[in-house]
Symmetry: C2
Subunit: 354 residues, 2 copies
C-alpha cells in the first residue's frame, strides 16, 4: 500500500544569521509499497531541531564530520523518533517497535537492508510508552547520550568527591541532564549558566543545581570569572561546554588542578559564517594537568562505548533525571522550532511532534 | 668534618628578556658536619639548566605550581645529580649511592629526615656508572620522565599502528627522546621541528626521525601547516608541544580524528613577561574527538605513575634511545649554559657538570 509522506526540504544553504521558517519547504510525496526483503517501513512520530544542524545547513567545507551532507532541494537529515509499521523478513524489527534514529525528515519511509546497515537506529521498545515518544528525541536520544558520554567518559567525575562542575546552556536539553546526573548520581556541586531569571530559577528549583549564573547580566570573561569565583572560590573541576566564546575562556581560567573541559557545542558562534576562535594560554594547563577534549554523542548513542540506554533508563526510573521539554506540534512548525533554539525562547529539549 | 659548598644564587627576578651569567652569583659557604640521625650528606656532580626555570625566576603570581619558590639572594632550585657521601642511621641510602633529585643548587648539603621526606630524590645506583652521571639530568631524569609520561600516558600512541607524531624542539632534551621512543618502541611516523640545517640533519640521521622541518625557514602558521601537509598529507595523530605559538596552532589545525596534543612547555614565550595566548577554534575539536592535555614530569619521575626508571633503562640497553647532550664544565658556567637554552646554540640536554 502506498502512502503520502511529508518532508522538510532545505531551500538553500544559509551561511550566517538566524534560520527560520522561510528557509524550509514542507512537501508531499508518495512512498511506494515496501517490497525489499529484509526491509522495514517506518512512520515518524517526531523530528528533532538541534543546534548542531545549524552547521549542517552551511555549505560543507571538508570538515572532519562523517555525517551525511544536507543539500538544498533535499530533505533535512537529523534525529527522529518513530514506529515500525511494516516488516518483510527481518528478525531484528517487529511491527509496533519504537525507535530513535538519524534519518531524513520524511514522515513515512522504507528502509531496505542496506539502509538498515548504514543508518543509526536504536530500539526503544519497552522503554518508552506511546505517550512519551518525545523522550526518544531527548533523554533517550542524542541529547541524552551527549550528556551521558560527555559527563561519564569525557569529564569522568569522581563519585562522592564533591567535585565542582560548571555547565553552560544549563537549562537546555543537554545541560540540564548533565547537571542532574552530576548532582544525583555523582554528588557533584553543580553550577549552571543560562539566560534570564526564569531559567535560573528552573535549574535551581526543579533540577537541583546548586547555583545559577544569569549570563545576560554578564558583560565579559572577567565578570563571568568573578561570578564563578563567588560560588566556587577554589575554582572548578569540570566544565561542560555548550556555548563557546567567553564561557569557554572564563571556565578555562577557573579550572583547578586536574581540571577538564568537555566540548560538544558552541552555540554562541553557530550563526556566524566563521566561528570566532577562543584565546587560550596553554602554559597555564601544564602545571595544573588540565585537559580539553571534544566529542559527539555517536559512540554512546550507537552503543560502541558505554551502556547509555540501560543506564539512562535506570536514571529515569530512579528519578535522577527529569524531562525538560518544549513541544511544537506538526511538521510545519519545524522552522519556527529550530529558530527558537537560537533566540533563547525555548527551555530544555525542543521537539517537533506530529 | 665541615666542607666548603658553592651555590648558584639568583641576584633578582627577571620578568622578561634573555637571562644570562649577569643574573647569578656563585658564592661559597661552609656546610656543617652531618649530625641528624636518619640524615645523609650529598655531593652534587652536576646541575640542570632547564627551560622551565625561566618561569621560576619571574616574581611568583599565585600559579597552580606546587614547586618551591625561588627567591632573590637565595640558591636556585632545580634538578641535580649527585652522590651520597655520608649517612647516619638511614636504611634507604648508603655511601656511594647515585641519585637524581630536585634540590637547591648547592654543591654539598646535608639532608635531614624531614628533607628526605619532603624532597624528590630517585636512586640511580646500578643504572648509571661514574662516567655517565650526566645522564641523571637527561634520560634518567626530568627530561626523560617528561618524554616518557607525555608520550606513553598522555598521548598514548597505538603500538604498531603507524600513527603520525609531530614534535617541536625535536633536537632538544625532551623532543629527541620522544621521537626515538615513538619510532623505535611504538613504530610511529615521526616528524620533528627544529632550528637550522644541522639540527634537522641530526634528528633524521642520528635519531631516526622520518622528517625534519626547519622552523627558521617558516614565517607563520599557514606555512607550517603546509610543511606538515607535505610530509603528512592526511594530518597528524599526535603533537608533543614544547614550543607554543604558531607551532601549537599549526599542529592543532593539522590533527586528524582522535588527535591529541600533550603540552609540557612553550619555550617560545618564556622570555615574555606575559606568555602570548594561542588562538583555538574549539568547534573543530568536536567531530574529530580531539584532546589537548597539559602535564609535567612529576608523577612519572616520582614513581606515582608508570614505571619510568625501569622502562627507560630498558630502552637505553636496547639501543632505542641515544644520549643527546651539550656539556658545560664547572658551576660557574651555569648562567652561560642556561642562556644557551634560549639562543638555540645547544643541542639536546644542556648539563653543567662539575
Amino acid at each position: 500500500m502506498s502512502s503520502i509522506a511529508k518532508s522538510v526540504i532545505l531551500i538553500d544553504y544559509v551561511e550566517e544569521g538566524l534560520v527560520g521558517p522561510e528557509h524550509f519547504n514542507i512537501t508531499e510525496s508518495t512512498v511506494p509499497e515496501l517490497t525489499a526483503s529484509g526491509g522495514i517501513r517506518v512512520e515518524l512520530a517526531g523530528i528533532s531541531p538541534d543546534p548542531f544542524l545549524r552547521g549542517r545547513i552551511k555549505k560543507p567545507v571538508g570538515s572532519a564530520s562523517t555525517l551525511e551532507t544536507i543539500r538544498p532541494g533535499f530533505p533535512m537529515v537529523g534525529f527522529v523518533v518513530g514506529k515500525v509499521t511494516a516488516v518483510i523478513d527481518n528478525s531484528n524489527w517487529a511491527v509496533g517497535d519504537i525507535f530513535g534514529a538519524y534519518l531524513p525528515f520524511v514522515t513515512v519511509q522504507n528502509l531496505g537492508p542496506e539502509d538498515l546497515k548504514a543508518r543509526l537506529l536504536w530500539k526503544l521498545t519497552g522503554k518508552l510508552t506511546e505517550d512519551r515518544l518525545n523522550l526518544g528525541l531527548g533523554i533517550y536520544g542524542m541529547p541524552g547520550s551527549t550528556a551521558y558520554g560527555g559527563l561519564i567518559d569525557v569529564l569522568r567525575p569522581i563519585k562522592g568527591k564533591g567535585e565542582v562542575i560548571f555547565i553552560s546552556a544549563a537549562s537546555g536539553a543537554v545541560g540540564s541532564l548533565v547537571g542532574m546526573i552530576a548532582k544525583n548520581v555523582y554528588g557533584c556541586k553543580v553550577i549552571g549558566s543560562c539566560g534570564g531569571p526564569e531559567k535560573c530559577a528552573l535549574i535551581t528549583s526543579k533540577f537541583g543545581f546548586d547555583h545559577a549564573i544569569d549570563y545576560k547580566k554578564i558583560n565579559n570573561k572577567d565578570e563571568l570569572k568573578a561570578a564563578l569565583k563567588d560560588v566556587a572560590p577554589d575554582g572548578i573541576d569540570m566544565y561542560f561546554e555548550n556555548v563557546g566564546g567567553m564561557h569557554f575562556e572564563a571556565a578555562y581560567e577557573s579550572l583547578r588542578v586536574k581540571g577538564r573541559i568537555a566540548v560538544c557545542g558552541g552555540i554562541s558562534g553557530y550563526n556566524d559564517a566563521v566561528t570566532p576562535p577562543v584565546s587560550v594560554n596553554i602554559m597555564s594547563m601544564i602545571y595544573s594537568f588540565n585537559r580539553i577534549e571534544g566529542f559527539i554523542s555517536w559512540p554512546w548513542l550507537s552503543g560502541a562505548q558505554g551502556n547509555f540506554l540501560e543506564d539512562m533508563h535506570g536514571f529515569v526510573q530512579a528519578g535522577h533525571v527529569l524531562p525538560n521539554e518544549t513541544v511544537f506540534r506538526g511538521i510545519e512548525s519545524f522552522g519556527e522550532a529550530f529558530q527558537s533554539l537560537f533566540t533563547g525562547k525555548n527551555t530544555g529539549k525542543v521537539v517537533v511532534m506530529f
